[in-house]
């Protein structure tokens, strides 16, 4: 075992996988070659866990389990059958695992290494630097679903709500809402080019592309909301905007700092920079009645409540705060409280604002 671990370390230290003296161990073009030890998935997980631990990689065991399971076609190690765990791996599988694990040694997030992750029961493609959805956001989606399905007065849309997702990232919020609300349509915007194309790709993989409109948009730009006018007022706005306080940015783990787009995380000095633009946008585009659901930092509910009180012109009220599974105030329900002054409601094009141009 120690020998094998030593071999792996030698390989990883970059002495050239191809030409190195140990290259034969992983050569897929000679599969008949007797393999050193005929390692099983369980043994490999243990070896890589030890290596990760030694190199100070966080979640060492989880990381090696996810990587090995992924190469063997399973989502989690826990869901693998006993046979799959004990049978010897092929040289090709060993090579794959080794390659993926070497990324982990560089602190790449597991979700990027696997190239996919699950959210609300959907498997989504993940690609750097697009923000990786966090489990808290699954709860945000749950809340929206709860309000839409149990309290129809929140959404008075006929035929299903039109939802605006601000900062769609990988498309996690948009696509999970679309898959759970078969009548709904979504307008997804993001300023990042990579996010726009990843959302598009995920929509196609999940066969949801017909009910989503993906628009590149920077909501911080003056008058950006006018670009969304052609799609009409919306029933719901949902957003997980960048909300990290600037001073916290430096303390983020290397996985986040070196791989995820800071623009999806950095919310400015008080984490409010993007949030206030989302609120302004919601005030412009929400129907009356209409609701905005936000994920925020636990310090934000108070800040946002105060800010909204100082801006009665937006006609938005903070009506509910919900805690996440760790008990932190994390989600906000903001409701439109009447027609907004100066909102050109009459200017909406036509009586069928909900139709999405193909």
């Amino acid at each position: 075992m120690e020998l094998w671990g030593g071999m792996l370390r030698a390989l990883l230290s970059g002495s050239g996988r191809r030409g190195g003296a140990l290259g034969w161990a992983f050569s897929s073009w000679r599969p008949h070659l007797p393999q050193a030890g005929l390692l099983s998935a369980t043994e490999l997980v243990n070896q890589w866990t030890a290596i990760f631990e030694k190199r100070g990689i966080p979640e060492a065991r989880e990381s090696s389990e996810y990587i090995v399971a992924h190469v063997l076609g399973a989502k989690t190690f826990q869901s693998m059958s006993p046979a799959l765990r004990t049978q010897p791996l092929t040289p090709w599988q060993l090579q794959c695992i080794q390659e993926l694990s070497s990324h982990r040694l560089q602190r790449m997030p597991v979700q990027y290494i696997l190239g996919e992750w699950d959210f609300q029961g959907l498997s989504l493609k993940m690609a750097p630097p697009v923000f990786i959805p966090r489990p808290e956001t699954e709860e945000l989606v749950d809340w929206v679903l709860e309000e839409v399905t149990q309290k129809p007065h929140v959404v008075e849309a006929q035929g299903g709500p039109l939802v605006l997702d601000v900062g769609c990232g990988s498309g996690a919020i948009s696509l999970s809402l679309l898959s759970r609300l078969p009548q709904s349509r979504v307008l997804a915007v993001d300023k990042g080019e990579a996010a726009i194309s990843l959302t598009r790709e995920n929509a196609q993989r999940l066969q949801l592309q017909d009910r989503i409109r993906i628009v590149p948009l920077d909501v911080t730009l003056e008058g950006s909301w006018t670009h969304l006018l052609p799609w009409g007022p919306v029933d719901l706005v949902v957003s997980n905007p960048p909300y990290i306080f600037r001073q916290d940015m430096e303390q983020l783990a290397p996985e986040i700092q070196s791989y995820e787009d800071p623009a999806a995380l950095d919310g400015g000095e008080k984490g409010m920079d993007i949030i206030i633009h989302v609120l302004a946008l919601a005030s412009r585009l929400l129907k009356d009645p209409g609701s905005l659901f936000l994920e925020v930092d636990p310090r934000h509910p108070e800040l946002i409540g105060n800010w909204l009180q100082s801006r009665p012109d937006l006609s938005l009220d903070l009506v509910a705060v919900r805690r996440d599974f760790c008990g932190r105030p994390r989600f906000l329900h903001v409701r439109r409280s009447g027609p907004q002054a100066g909102c050109p409601v009459a200017a909406w094009p036509g009586p069928q604002p909900a139709r999405l141009p193909g």
Binding site: E59, Q78, S81
Partner: protein, 380 residues
């Protein structure tokens, strides 16, 4: 006289399709059920009392009285028609033969209906369920057998077109299974699976045995009905939900992949965990499912333990400690000790298809018989 009988025979023939169709397919009923219907037997007495009674019993109610009446009419008809078998007229004899066959069919259906009306259906019969398998005595061999049993039930679910979702899985080093659980759902899933709970014994030469000796090992199956939203209400305040994100800022500040969820029901101390999925929300849903099933079966056991005490076929934790079945590989036989029934061809049986289904059906019939006896002996 003869013409009268013929007319009545003809009427019966015409009337036959009007007999209410059986609610489930007619299976080969086990003999004890047939015996209950014997003339002068306890079930007959019971039915006659029901017919005379001013206020018929809750079970079955007026429908039972009506069906019982139909049954005795049919039987009367059958007896009368039987005389015609000795008639000189050949045409009449043929007609009588046909008549008798159809009468017998109708009688079988009516008896079946009576059983359905009398056997109380359990509150949980239509529910989904949680299947738990746990290796018992016998070390690695018991774990290997546990793994085979888990596969068998997974295949049985596919055979019955039920959904099957593994909730947890703890394998042993050499490919066996220490413990696993799964969620099953579909038409009458619990009604079928509830008889599988108990200790299953295997007798064979283990793969790990070098000297060819036969070992005896065991594994345990538990079947927990999954409560509906109405069956069981849990106060969210009674739950503690543990995740790996409990410390630190959470949200966008951290990116963890450990999605395991552990739920503790504080008043009872019952714990449920899940780490089968990459999505934490999905793990929480599955852990919750398991927790609800555990709490519900605890609740049910309190209610039903008295009712079932005397029966051979035990449901719930009482049955869990009882050796219910032996899988004897050298003799290629599986024997269910509760009804003393043996089936051969173990390999086919372990595929979880029609042979397992046949045994389950026999158990269901026997359980029906037992609860029928319960019902009539109580009211005599």
């Amino acid at each position: 006289m003869r013409s009268h009988l013929l007319r009545s025979a003809a009427r019966c023939l015409r009337a036959r399709p009007a007999v209410a169709p059986a609610r489930r397919h007619l299976s080969c009923r086990s003999p004890p059920l047939e015996e209950l219907f014997a003339r002068g037997g306890p079930l007959r007495t019971f039915l006659e009392r029901q017919a005379r009674s001013e206020s018929p019993l809750q079970v079955g109610g007026p429908e039972l009285v009506a069906v019982a009446k139909l049954l005795s009419e049919k039987e009367q008809e059958l007896r009368e028609t039987e005389h015609l078998l000795h008639d000189d007229n050949e045409d009449l004899r043929k007609l009588a033969e046909n008549e008798i066959t159809s009468c017998q069919k109708a009688i079988a259906q009516l008896k079946h209906q009576i059983i359905l009306l009398l056997v109380p259906s359990e509150e949980t019969d239509e529910n989904d369920l949680i299947l738990e398998v746990t290796a018992g005595v016998g070390g690695q061999e018991a774990m290997l057998f546990t793994s085979e049993m888990f596969d068998m039930y997974q295949q049985y679910a596919a055979f019955k077109r039920w959904h099957f979702e593994t909730l947890e899985y703890f394998p042993s080093e050499i490919g066996g299974l220490r413990h696993a659980s799964a969620s099953l759902g579909g038409p009458e899933a619990y009604k079928h699976m509830k008889f599988e709970g108990g200790v299953h014994r295997v007798q064979r030469v283990p793969k790990t045995e070098k000297q060819g000796r036969i070992h005896t090992s065991t594994m345990t199956v538990a079947i927990l009905p999954q409560p509906t939203e109405i069956n069981l209400v849990i106060n969210p305040k009674d739950l503690r939900i543990d995740t790996k994100r409990a410390s630190g800022a959470g949200g966008q500040h951290v990116n963890t992949t450990d999605s395991a969820v552990r739920i503790v029901h504080l008043p009872t101390g019952v714990v449920s965990e899940c780490q089968q999925e990459r999505s934490q929300l999905k793990n929480k849903e599955m852990a919750m499912k398991k927790l609800r099933a555990k709490l519900y079966s605890m609740h049910l056991e309190e209610e039903t333990s008295k009712r079932y005490n005397a029966r051979k076929i035990q449901i719930g934790s009482k049955g869990r400690s009882e050796k219910i079945r032996t899988y004897n590989f050298p003799q290629n036989r599986v024997t269910d000790h509760r009804i003393n029934k043996s089936l051969h061809d173990l390999e086919t049986f372990m595929q979880g298809e029609y042979l397992l289904d046949e045994l389950v059906q026999s158990l269901k019939d026997y359980a029906d018989y037992e609860s029928l006896v319960d019902v009539i002996s109580k009211k005599l």
